[in-house]
Amino acid sequence: MVSTLGMALRYRPLTGVSSKVSKANALFNPEWTTVRFRYHADKVAKGPVPRRHGYEEKLFQGGLLPRTAFPDRALPIPTYKPKNSWNEKRALFGQNDYIDILGPSNEISQKPLHPTQLLYHVPPWLRGVQGNEYQVLLRRRKFVQKKGYALGHPTKWATLNTRIKKLYRYLNHKTKSPFWKDA
C-alpha cells in the first residue's frame, strides 16, 4: 500500500469530494468520528470464547475412535489376575515376630530367641543391620572377605572396595558430620 500520509498534509475541499474517503482523511476529519460497534460482551453472549489459540489438545475429546487393522479382536492387554491375599506367605505374614515375648525366655531347656534370628530370607550379613550404605558395605566386606569373595567375584570385589573408598572420601571431606546438628 502506498502511504498517503504525505498527502494528508494537503488541504482537501469538503465539497466535490468522492464518496470513498482516502486513508489520509481517515487520520483526522472533523466531520466524522469513529463509533464502537463491536463489543466483547456480544461475542461472549453468543457462546464460549475460545482460549489458548493455537493449542492442540492431545487428549481424546470425542469423535471416532482409532480403528485397528483387525476388527474382530480386541487390543492386546495382559489378563488381570487379582493377587491372592490368602496364599501361605500373605496369610502367615508376621508369624514369629514376637518370639522374644511369647516364646521361651530363660528356661533351662530352651534358649530365648530374637526375631533377627528368624530372618531366613535376608543375607546373613544383613540380618538385624541398621545403617547407611557405607556401614552396610563395610559389614559386607568383613563377612565376604573370609569366604574368598575376591577370588570368586573379582570385579564385584573391586567395585565394593572402590565404592567404600569413594564413600569414605565423600562422607568425610564433602559432608558434615551427623553430630554437627547437635552441636
Binding site: 505374614f93 515376630d97 518370639i99 516364646g103 530374637h114 528368624l118
Partner: protein, 307 residues
C-alpha cells in the same frame, strides 16, 4: 500329603526346638474324670453320621486361677465353647486377666507394631549404577577446545543420557529397626483387648474336630458368625490332623502356635480363636514380662551380633 499338611503348620523353629510348654492341668479346674474317651482317628466319609458327643453335665470348666491377681481392674469373663459340633455349646465360663485382655486399646501403638512388622524385615534390592560403574566412559569424548561443542570428560557422566545416577538407590538397603520391647508388649495387649472388646475373640477347649472335611469347618464358622477369616491359636505347634487337613484347603483359616502370634495376623484375620491352653500360655508370658524384676535387661536395645 501328610508331610505337606504338616509343613503348613510346623515352622522351621518347631523342628529345632522341642514342645514349647506343658500346660499345668491344675490351673484349670475341670471334671476331667467325667469325660468320655473319644477315638482319635478321623472319619473321612462325610456321609457317615458323626458320633454323638456325650458330655457330662455342664458347666465343665468353671474356674481358673489367675496369676498376679489384678488389684485395680475388674476381672473379665469369657465363654468357653466346643469344636465338636457345628452348633456352639458353651462348656463354661472362665476369668481373663484384665492386664492382658482389658487393656485400653492404643491405636497408635497398634499402628506402630504393624508398621514395624512390615518394615523391619524389608530389604530393598533396587540398584542404580554410579558413573564409574556404568560400562565405558573412560575416554574424553572430544578435545577440550576447538570443536565448538560443549566440553565433557566422560560419556557416562550423570548429565549424559545412559550415564550414571548420582544419588539413586543402592542395593541392598535394609529398613531394619527394632521397636522397643514394651511397645511390642503393649501392642499385643492392645490388640488382644480390642479383639475381646469387639467380640472377635473366642475361646475353645481344644482344636479337635470330628472330621477332616473342610465343609465341617465352613459350616461351623458360618453357624457361629465367626467372620470370613479365622485364626486358630493353640499352645502346641503340632496341631491335630483333622483341623490341619480341613483348614489346608482354605487360605483364610489358619493355625498358629502361641509363639507365632503377632499383631499383624490378629488384625488380618477377622476372628481369633484361642484354646484354653493358648489363653493360659499367653497370659503367663505377658504377665511374666509385665511383672519381671529384670525388665531393664529385657528392654535393652538389641545389639548386633550379640546373639
Amino acid at each position: 500329603m501328610a508331610t505337606k499338611i504338616i509343613n503348613k503348620t510346623v515352622t522351621e523353629l518347631s523342628l529345632r526346638i522341642t514342645r514349647c510348654f506343658f500346660v499345668p492341668s491344675k490351673a484349670i479346674q475341670t471334671n476331667a474324670a467325667l469325660f468320655q474317651e473319644r477315638s482319635e482317628t478321623s472319619i473321612t466319609n462325610v456321609e457317615e453320621q458323626l458320633l454323638p458327643t456325650i458330655r457330662p453335665p455342664l458347666p465343665i470348666i468353671y474356674s481358673r486361677k489367675l496369676a498376679f491377681p489384678p488389684k485395680f481392674k475388674a476381672v473379665r469373663q469369657a465363654w468357653v465353647s466346643n469344636m465338636d459340633t457345628v452348633e456352639e455349646e458353651k462348656l463354661g465360663l472362665i476369668d481373663l486377666h484384665p492386664e492382658v485382655f482389658a487393656e485400653r486399646p492404643r491405636v497408635d501403638i497398634i499402628h506402630e507394631n504393624v508398621r514395624w512388622q512390615q518394615l523391619y524385615r524389608h530389604v530393598s534390592y533396587a540398584n542404580t549404577k554410579v558413573r564409574y560403574e556404568v560400562r565405558g566412559g573412560g575416554r574424553k569424548p572430544r578435545p577440550q577446545k576447538g570443536s565448538g561443542r560443549s566440553r565433557h570428560g566422560s560419556i557416562r557422566s550423570p548429565i549424559w543420557r545412559g550415564g550414571g545416577i548420582v544419588h539413586g538407590p543402592r542395593s541392598p538397603t535394609p529398613y531394619f529397626y527394632m521397636l522397643s520391647f514394651n511397645a511390642r508388649l503393649n501392642g499385643l495387649r492392645s490388640t488382644l483387648s480390642a479383639k475381646l472388646a469387639q467380640d472377635d475373640l473366642h475361646i475353645v477347649d481344644s482344636l479337635d474336630i470330628p472330621t477332616d472335611d473342610p465343609s465341617y469347618l465352613e459350616k461351623l464358622v458360618e453357624e457361629r458368625g465367626w467372620g470370613p477369616a479365622v485364626l486358630f491359636v493353640d499352645d502346641n505347634d503340632i496341631m491335630p490332623l483333622n483341623i490341619t487337613a480341613a483348614s489346608d484347603v482354605h487360605g483364610h483359616y489358619n493355625l498358629m502356635p502361641v509363639y507365632g502370634l503377632n499383631v499383624h495376623s490378629m488384625l488380618k484375620h477377622h476372628t481369633l480363636v484361642l484354646t484354653l491352653a493358648a489363653v493360659e500360655r499367653i497370659e503367663e508370658r505377658l504377665l511374666f514380662h509385665l511383672n519381671r524384676n529384670d525388665a531393664a535387661e529385657a528392654g535393652r536395645k538389641h545389639r548386633l551380633d550379640s546373639l
